[in-house]
């Protein structure tokens, strides 16, 4: 039976709501044998769960569901990132919100699923304040030009969608803490099985380095994600999951307050096309790129990280030339082990990406 999340036009909020509903369905299913599937249907996310039997009784007694709200997120990046999600709130308020999310989803379970099934969940922009750690446009005054009159309030959404978005945001948001900044990345599903998503998260969310910028962080994550998907596709016969983009934004600290900084979408399709279409060559390309990010995270080698970030964010001829120029100097001068260099076939795949983007 399909459940509908109608898109509101606030991209990260919509993605988080979709993950939230998929998680709610998955944790409330007594069978636990089938996985909800998140599909991007243009104006809505459709969550297919044909053989699932979600019930409120199972949900409220499920240990895994209860643990979601009490796992300490700062110990392991794979746990729900509650403290990062509510980074703009005081600790006591964040705790209260976390409890409110759990209670609301358990209490309104039947009504919420009924609405999602019958007419789809649409956002009403009134009710609970949306956290800045969830969606950068939730901050005061960042949605439109306010001229001299600075009176735009925080974004508010109805409690059903707020609770779903908080759950989805804590589960799916990848928060990378840096010095006085947080880089946030959300993989946008095109067609993703929730069980597979948990495996992918397990394999990819702990991979992190010292990053120069949020673009650097998201470019590295795109490589790690594409490689994880390549491995899953090679080892499983029926693997057909895809992500369309990586939505990202950064927050930085000004005194005691967090403020939003740059945000955007990285199209991950070219990398996934290569990973799933030419898995052997893609493995080599990803190995070289991962090496460039790792070496580029070391002080004195930042030019490597910048060059590979620009090539992935915008695969143009100019950025390919810049990447070539930097890498050839490292190979000829400081040295790069042969295992971290391109092969004839793998460098051709990089050119194919550049060709297709021109």
């Amino acid at each position: 039976m399909p459940y509908w999340i109608m898109k509101s036009g606030v991209p990260i909020l919509d993605v988080a709501r979709a993950y939230g509903l998929a998680a709610l369905l998955s944790y409330s299913d007594a069978d636990q044998s089938t996985s909800p599937v998140i599909n991007d249907a243009g104006s809505a996310f459709v969550i297919d769960f044909p053989r699932g039997k979600p019930t409120r009784d199972y949900l409220s007694q499920d240990d895994a569901w209860q643990a979601l709200f009490y796992l300490p997120s700062d110990l392991d990046p794979r746990n729900p990132a509650w403290s990062s999600l509510f980074v703009t709130d005081l600790r006591a308020l964040a705790e209260r919100k976390r409890k409110q999310v759990q209670e609301h989803l358990e209490q309104q379970f039947d009504e919420l699923l009924g609405t999602a099934r019958d007419r789809g969940l649409s956002v009403q922009f009134e009710g609970e304040s949306l956290s800045g750690g969830l969606e950068p446009s939730a901050f005061k005054g960042s949605k439109s030009a306010t001229r001299a009159h600075y009176a735009e309030d925080q974004t508010k959404v109805d409690t059903d969608n707020w609770a779903l978005a908080c759950l989805g945001g804590a589960l799916a948001g990848r928060y990378v803490w840096q010095h006085r900044a947080v880089f946030v990345v959300y993989p946008v599903p095109e067609k993703v099985h929730f069980f597979n998503w948990r495996d992918i998260k397990q394999k990819t969310y702990a991979e992190r380095l010292n990053y120069l910028s949020v673009q650097n962080a998201v470019a590295h994550y795109s490589v790690v994600l594409a490689e994880a998907m390549r491995k899953m596709a090679v080892s499983r016969l029926d693997f057909s999951d895809r992500f369309s983009n990586l939505a990202y934004f950064s927050l930085f600290k000004t005194g005691n307050q967090w403020k939003p900084s740059s945000a955007g979408l990285l199209n991950i399709q070219p990398l996934l096309d290569m990973a799933l279409g030419q898995p052997h060559e893609a493995a080599k390309v990803f190995q070289v790129w991962d090496y460039l990010f790792r070496r580029g995270s070391v002080r004195g080698c930042e030019d490597l990280a910048e060059a590979i970030t620009e090539l992935i964010m915008s695969p143009s001829l100019e950025n390919l030339e810049r990447h070539n120029r930097v890498l050839i100097r490292y190979i000829a001068g400081k040295g790069v082990r042969a295992m971290n260099q391109y092969t004839e076939e793998s460098v051709k795949e990089v050119m194919q990406i550049v060709d297709n983007s021109v």
């Binding site: 390919l320 070539n324 120029r325 890498l327 050839i328 260099q341 460098v347 021109v358």
Partner: protein
């Protein structure tokens, strides 16, 4: 969908010159950075052709001494034709991409090094 860059990369003349540039940069006795910089700075086809000619002149003497293969006259003509057809930027990107690729000798040397490490 454009396939120009991949096509130029696969061209035998580019492949031959790319392999020569790779040797010129990686063999310690040669390490010709000057040619690399001249090629990178070339904007017009004439500048690029001139940079390639200088590169060949510099490469000639160590190549004779070390018994390395040198690009043929036909490859040079073909490279100039490709530059006229597609422009400097695409040919240069393809050429330097060949220089990034690891050589067979490097693979063997690294494997040997790893075997020696394991034995010791």
């Amino acid at each position: 969908m454009s396939t120009t860059l991949s096509e130029v990369y696969s061209d035998p003349a580019v492949r031959e010159f790319g392999a020569t540039l790779r040797r010129a940069l990686r063999i310690k006795e040669i390490q010709d950075y000057a040619s690399l910089i001249e090629m990178e700075n070339a904007e017009k086809p004439e500048d690029f052709s001139e940079a390639v000619r200088r590169f060949l002149r510099r490469f000639d003497s160590p190549a004779r001494r070390l018994k390395l293969r040198r690009p043929t006259e036909q490859s040079l003509e073909r490279l100039s034709w490709l530059v006229d057809q597609h422009g400097v930027q695409i040919v240069r990107a393809a050429l330097i991409s060949h220089a990034l690729v690891r050589g067979v000798r490097e693979d063997e040397a690294e494997e040997e090094e790893e075997t020696n490490d394991q034995q010791s």
